[in-house]
Amino acid sequence: MMDSLLVLIPVVLPLITAALLLPLTGRARLQQAAALVSGGVLLASAMLLCARTARGAILVLPLGGWSPRVGIVWVADALAAVMLLFVAIVSYTTLLYAGGSLRGERERRYFYPLHQFLLVGVGGSILTGDLFNLFVFFEVMLLASFALIALGGRARQVRMGVPYVIVNLVGSALFLAAVGAMYGAAGTVNMAELSLRAGGGGLPGVFWGATALVLVVFMVKTALFPVFAWLPDSYPEAPVTVNALFAGLLTKVGVYTLFRTIPLLGGAAPGGWQPALVAIAATTMLVGVLGALGRSTIRGVLSFHIVSQVGYMIFGLALFTPLALAAGLFHTLHNMVAKTALVFAGGVAERIGGSGKLYAMRGLARTEPWLAAGFFVAAMSLAGMPPLSGFWGKWFLVAGGLAAGAPVATGISLLVGLFTLASMLKIWNAVFWGEPEGQRYPGRGQHRGMLGATLSLAAMTLLTGLLAAPIFSHLERVATQLLDVTPYVAAVRAAERREVHAVAP
């Protein structure tokens, strides 16, 4: 009972909250308070789920009592639990931040319900055990994100949002087609069953073609090279809170789906995909950081960095060793925290300066020391300075990359770290350093929720860095569980006709 509740809460709780918030439109403070309460429960349940799955238990919930082969199953293993925990953390801080940063009635009115709907999609995508439901939850997430990215409805915002909408719609359509073809070839869309049948061999070429198409669609969602161009234009146009939410949650769902599907199907797949993925990851890092160096607004730089950082995560996955996989996961979690903190701090700076243009204002470090401290810590973490979490993420990746025999890509990752530092210094010099000047609305940076959200995430990246050893050893266990597919498959298969099945390690 307790276990099935734990698996249900991450999807059902935001859904109920969203329904309750809808009639309260126009009463933003009440909505925020209710969303914070619900977010607190979500956080607590994610922690419980982490504790429950930490020793290798896998919770499987077959909905409606159908067999997992034809019905819907939700699976919570250690990877899903740890992702859900960080999703809950990031979403909680965005709620805190939203109170001060949303501008005007139009943005405030529907933000909180849409935020909850987005969480439904994210939670569902993480927990689902079959590809078709992944499609459905992707669509829930997308529809909420479409509305969020157009929140406010300014002309430029709508125009820049169109590529985001169209690319994701076409991506989803192709995803559905690929799932259909996979179903036709293998007779199931359950990921555990697919893994089993793929491992058994003898599947037609159609199956692998469809698998490749699914992976391409996930790459689009993750914004990997060469299918990343939709991201850096549209994100900076959204309201800051939405930008932070997308940077912290949305692109990471794509990363999660790759981490989920590739180990399940990769072992049986025809060879050659690994070096290709390494090359894609390395190019993504490089292209993203070069794009970031060329941008001239705070959030423009930060949005290109989303692309670059995704490269690191997928690099860890592509190497396909327990060490590198754990490093990729560590980097993903670190990035969810550090990147959200950066967008938060950049958003406050943008409010004070009246625009996000670099060099339009200066000297925020003098007038807003706490904000500057939050930005500095997060920026150094992203660039990979010890003892912050970003340093350890890169450290483990370099170790994993050298051990797996990919020296060129590892070298590129180090070079990209240098460029990241350069682009962070660019923002720092332009906005925070020097004598104060050009601050159009100096009073706007004092909102407690906005500063609190920024600083707590900055503190968290420091804490993650200091506790890197225990966290990493946990992630190594997660990675081992991922690469050894058998427990996952066994847990799902054993779930037939039982409400919840927990498989002991």
């Binding site: 125009r159 989803s172 559905l176």
Partner: protein, 114 residues
């Protein structure tokens, strides 16, 4: 039957993609609808279309149908996908109205960072 469905699905795909590549948001919305219908047909076909397939309802006594049955799971997929596609199309149309109201134009032209 399968051949016909394949051709039809391909035609819907092609028309949908052509319309999606235009700069007019309403055309894009129609393109998306065609594309999603093409894909629904594709999913239905890929699950197999046995000739004279009975609906997957067994019934009792004299009228009980015996195979071959159409695959109900693929139909359930499509039913879900149709609902989602409808929602997305509604959003696209709303977006195009909003875009027209906000900018007074029908077409979108990305100008990057200016």
């Amino acid at each position: 039957m399968i051949g016909l469905a394949a051709v039809l699905s391909g035609v819907l795909f092609a028309c949908g993609l052509y319309l999606l590549l235009s700069r007019n948001l309403q055309r894009m919305a129609i393109g998306f609808l065609l594309l999603s219908n093409g894909i629904n047909l594709f999913v239905l076909t890929s699950a197999g279309l046995p000739a004279r397939a009975a609906p997957p309802l067994l019934g009792e006594g004299e009228g009980a149908s015996r195979g071959p049955f159409a695959d109900p799971l693929a139909q359930a997929f499509i039913l879900t996908a149709i609902v989602i596609g409808l929602g997305m199309a509604a959003f696209l149309l709303a977006l195009s109205t909003r875009h027209h109201d906000a900018s007074g134009r029908d077409d979108v032209e990305g100008d990057g960072e200016t």
